[in-house]
């Protein structure tokens, strides 16, 4: 299986230029997210009102915002915040949701399983963003609660996907033959089913990563996610849009930052999906 996996990875993913560009942007983002605070030219929190609303120039590559803070430094520190948020929300959403989904899918068909699936389908009728906004506002408006809310709101979708995937996987012939050879249930789950659903897990995780960044920016834009003066990209767009009559350029740098990171995730997901499903090639 492993050889096949690498082979497919090479054919489907690495040969597609777009996916490679995605991987490149994504790596740069990770690098800046970790080392950004060491590279910044100015203090992202230091206000200097005499120097505000500057268009890009030699001193401030992305200009300065309404309080005279250097936008370039803020975008760099914002990358770190975005990285932290997406990893934490991914851990909550994909790990909890994935485990529940896999276990439910692997269960024998009985009433309990049916009830859990039905209940989960009902949870899916709450629109993702509405649910995330609701949970954040009710837990209290700050970044950590926004992360928890985004993670929780994504659990039902994960449960559904993995329940369906594992359910269809466990009735395939290779699992039946493994069972007839006397393999234990735990062995089948870890040695046979999990490696085969790994690609689906990867694609969903990458797509969820993109969605998390958009959701966090949206919550911060509404004003219930990151709180000022934190340089979260969504919050920066909100503050820039409040001053859009005086200095409309302020919206551009954080918007492009979000666009690039989410785009890179989407490009990688496309490549991964293509290597999973050879019919698409």
């Amino acid at each position: 299986m492993n050889n096949n996996f690498l082979n497919n990875l090479q054919k489907g993913f690495l040969k597609r230029k777009l996916s490679l560009i995605g991987l490149l942007i994504f790596s740069i983002f990770i690098f800046l997210g970790i080392f950004g605070p060491l590279l910044i030219p100015y203090d992202p929190y230091k206000t200097e009102y005499s120097n505000r609303y500057q268009l890009p120039n030699n001193n401030n590559i992305f200009g300065t915002d309404w309080a005279g803070r250097d936008v370039f430094s803020r975008v760099l520190v914002g990358a770190g915040i975005t990285l932290k948020i997406s990893i934490m929300a991914l851990c909550i959403g994909s790990i909890i949701g994935g485990i529940i989904g896999i276990l439910i899918g692997y269960m024998k068909n009985n009433i309990l399983k049916m009830l859990v699936i039905q209940f989960n389908d009902i949870l899916l009728t709450f629109p993702f963003l509405v649910l995330a906004i609701l949970i954040t506002a009710l837990l209290g408006s700050n970044l950590n609660n926004a992360i928890i809310a985004i993670g929780i709101s994504r659990i039902p979708r994960y449960v559904r996907i993995f329940c369906l995937v594992v359910n269809s996987e466990k009735n395939k012939k290779y699992i039946i033959s493994a069972t007839s050879l006397g393999a234990s249930k735990i062995r089948i789950l870890f040695y046979h089913i999990l490696p085969n659903i790994l690609p689906i897990f990867l694609v969903n995780t990458v797509l969820f990563f993109a969605l998390t960044i958009i959701a966090e920016a949206t919550l911060s834009f509404i004003g219930i996610g990151a709180q000022p003066p934190m340089p979260s990209w969504g919050l920066m767009i909100r503050q820039a849009s409040e001053n859009m009559l005086v200095y409309p350029f302020g919206v551009i740098p954080p918007s492009i930052a979000i666009l690039l990171v989410v785009l890179s995730a989407n490009l990688m997901a496309d490549g991964l999906r293509e290597f999973m499903d050879p019919k698409l090639r």
């Binding site: 993702f128 963003l129 609701l134 009710l138 209290g140 834009f221 767009i237 409309p248 979000i258």
Partner: protein, 314 residues
């Protein structure tokens, strides 16, 4: 067929009932007491008691649940603490405003998405296909509110031809009303459009491989007839399903877009209610969003079974 629709409708009613219960339970176990938010620290023991009595908060849980269900069935949605009004009286104009926004955005993304999807499927690998692909990638990767803000900057500040915020009812002044609608509708559609384009394109590519399409070419049908009549009908099945799934995204997008354009709909009401801890109002709005999503999916399933009768048989 009728049996299938009946089963789906019954399922939908059960789902709605469970949703009502879940929303009720979520609101019960929330941190914070609405009475305290209402009195804002000026409370005396007697006032708290009186208000609790007025909002039925002193009764046991099953009794409150009974009152909530009975109220919903009678069209009594409860009382908004923030607005000091019956919720049903503020709710209806807001609901109409949101429906106006959502339905037009849906319509626009379908009207634009289908031809664009067909063009890129017919000329696979061409310049047009690449361009549509890039546009839809950017559309998927940008949060809806960014579209809103950027459209505002371009059309309201630089070109100064459209109003920035607000809504005018279509009965007051049609021309003004359309002017206010253009930007919000466009920014919501830009978020949904890529999904329509991508889906029409991939479904179309599958359908065009079929034998009956080749027969169509062989007997000399015009390309227009083949693409828009014979192939499109079969590729729409999957697209309708995608619209149903992404309707939730559309609802979420409408909340933020309403905020950007100060549209007096359910989204702005929802955020206001959250900011002011108006629990009854939050309860009603979350319920409405969930029920809209359920209803749309029911409609999608029914349309689906009409287009493709095999689904009803399964």
């Amino acid at each position: 067929m009728i049996r299938y629709i009946l089963i789906r409708v019954t399922g939908c009613i059960i789902t709605s009932f469970v949703v009502v219960t879940i929303v009720f339970l979520i609101m019960q176990y929330l941190p914070g007491d609405p009475v305290h938010y209402l009195l804002r620290g000026y409370e005396s023991e007697g006032q708290v008691e009186a208000l609790r009595k007025e909002f039925n908060l002193d009764k046991p849980l099953y009794n409150q649940y009974y009152i909530w269900i009975k109220g919903l069935l009678n069209g009594n949605l409860g009382f908004s603490i923030f607005y000091q009004k019956e919720i049903s009286s503020i709710f209806i104009p807001r609901f109409i405003a949101t429906i106006e926004l959502i339905s037009l955005s849906l319509f626009l993304s379908i009207i634009l998405g289908i031809p664009l999807g067909i063009i890129s499927a017919v000329r696979v690998g061409s310049f047009e296909d690449g361009l549509t692909g890039i546009i839809s990638l950017i559309g998927v990767s940008t949060p809806v509110f960014v579209f809103g803000v950027i459209l505002q900057i371009i059309f309201c500040i630089y070109l100064n031809i459209l109003p920035t915020i607000g809504r005018v009812s279509i009965f007051e002044n049609i021309f003004d009303s359309i002017k206010h609608l253009i930007l919000p509708v466009f920014s919501i559609s830009l978020g949904l459009l890529p999904y329509v384009i991508r889906n029409v394109r991939s479904e179309m590519l599958e359908v065009l491989k079929n034998d009956y399409i080749r027969t169509g070419w062989a007997k000399g049908l015009s390309p227009f007839k083949i693409y828009y009549k014979h192939a499109l009908r079969n590729s729409l099945v999957g697209t309708i399903a995608v619209l149903g799934i992404n309707f939730g995204m559309l609802l979420g997008g409408s909340v933020v877009t309403e905020l950007v354009f100060q549209w007096p709909g359910l989204g702005t009401l929802f955020i206001q209610a959250l900011m002011s801890h108006d629990y009854q109002l939050i309860q009603v709005l979350v319920l409405v969003y969930a029920l809209m999503f359920t209803l749309v999916n029911l409609i999608v399933d029914v349309i689906y079974s009409i287009i493709d009768p095999r689904i009803a048989l399964e």
